[in-house]
């Protein structure tokens, strides 16, 4: 039986608490992994491992870190993602809420945008597949 949205949130919250050493109440749906929870690049490896274990899913690197799009000159101009690039990002990460990012799509800001809610929706999309 597929887990409920609440159950997914609980397990994602647990994985983030374990990986980042933060408290339960800091892991709110709107909290950003990098800005609010202090995740660094070394932590993403840990988060991926814990989510794969918790949900028995595989998380290919490019699904959470679209570096290939962000470093492609076809999709980036003057440090900002182009309209074409945004289309690619949305295709790659349909579960992510890119609204805020779209307002000022600077490549350097991309890493900061992922929220806990985005991770929950990502896991749900993998479970539904």
């Amino acid at each position: 039986m597929a887990p409920t949205s609440d159950e997914v949130f609980q397990k994602v919250q647990e994985a983030l608490v374990d990986a980042l050493g933060v408290d339960d109440d800091e892991v709110t749906p709107e909290a950003t992994l990098v800005g609010d929870l202090g995740a660094e690049s070394i932590d993403f490896l840990d988060i991926v491992f814990k989510l794969e274990k918790a949900f028995d899913i595989q998380i290919p690197r490019e699904e959470l870190s679209p570096e290939d799009i962000l470093t492609n000159s076809q999709y980036v101009e003057d440090g900002k993602v182009t309209a074409e690039g945004l289309v690619e990002l949305k295709k790659r990460m349909p579960w992510a809420n890119l609204e805020e990012f779209e307002k000022n799509p600077r490549v350097q800001d991309f890493g900061n945008l992922l929220t806990v809610q985005d991770m929950v929706r990502y896991v749900e999309s993998k479970l539904a597949a």
Binding site: A19, I42, L45, D46, V48, E52, K53, R61
Partner: protein, 168 residues
């Protein structure tokens, strides 16, 4: 003081698991005055011994080409101290191998009783940040592994004696 916190490999299966022993000796520098008149092995050195065992396990899987460093200790739980005369038996297994790092979980036993449990995360040094240079000179790591009985026990995934890697 050398930085070898594992005395001997007792088992090693490529890509899977390994075991080793660490003898706690009274004349070790690390124990000298650690707790006056009641000394014991600094608990963090148990993590190091396990990390050396796990680090070789992970590194060997990639034919010693990747530079493997300890990135995180998710959790280390201790149930007893390592006292002079104790022999700690470490057992490590690989839980996950990824492009940028690996995860291992391990136990330490003393006289058959669980002494510690450790979860480790290793990272592979990124060439763009740290260049391509190896951490060791040719032969350095080979020497350390020989000292620790590695080639006497190491087998590949099929159980055949492990060949000595060109990269050592």
């Amino acid at each position: 003081m050398r930085w070898l916190w594992l005395d001997r490999f007792t088992e090693f299966q490529s890509g899977s698991h390994a075991t080793g022993v660490k003898n706690v000796a009274l004349d070790e520098e690390a124990l000298d005055g650690y707790c006056p008149a009641y000394t014991f092995l600094p608990p963090t050195l148990i993590i190091e011994g396990i990390a050396q065992l796990g680090g070789v396990l992970v590194s060997e899987h990639f034919d010693f080409e990747k530079r493997v460093v300890l990135a995180k200790v998710g959790k280390a739980v201790y149930h007893a101290l390592g006292r002079p005369g104790d022999q700690l038996r470490y057992a490590v297994r690989i839980d996950s191998l990824q492009e940028n790092g690996a995860f291992c979980s391990a136990t330490s036993h003393c006289d058959g009783a669980l002494q510690a449990e450790v979860d480790l995360m290793f990272a592979f040094l990124d060439p763009s940040r740290f260049g391509e240079e190896s951490l060791f000179n040719p032969g350095d790591l080979l020497g350390m592994l020989r000292l620790m009985n590695f080639f006497e026990v190491a087998v590949d995934a099929e159980g055949r004696p492990l060949a000595i890697s060109e990269n050592l």
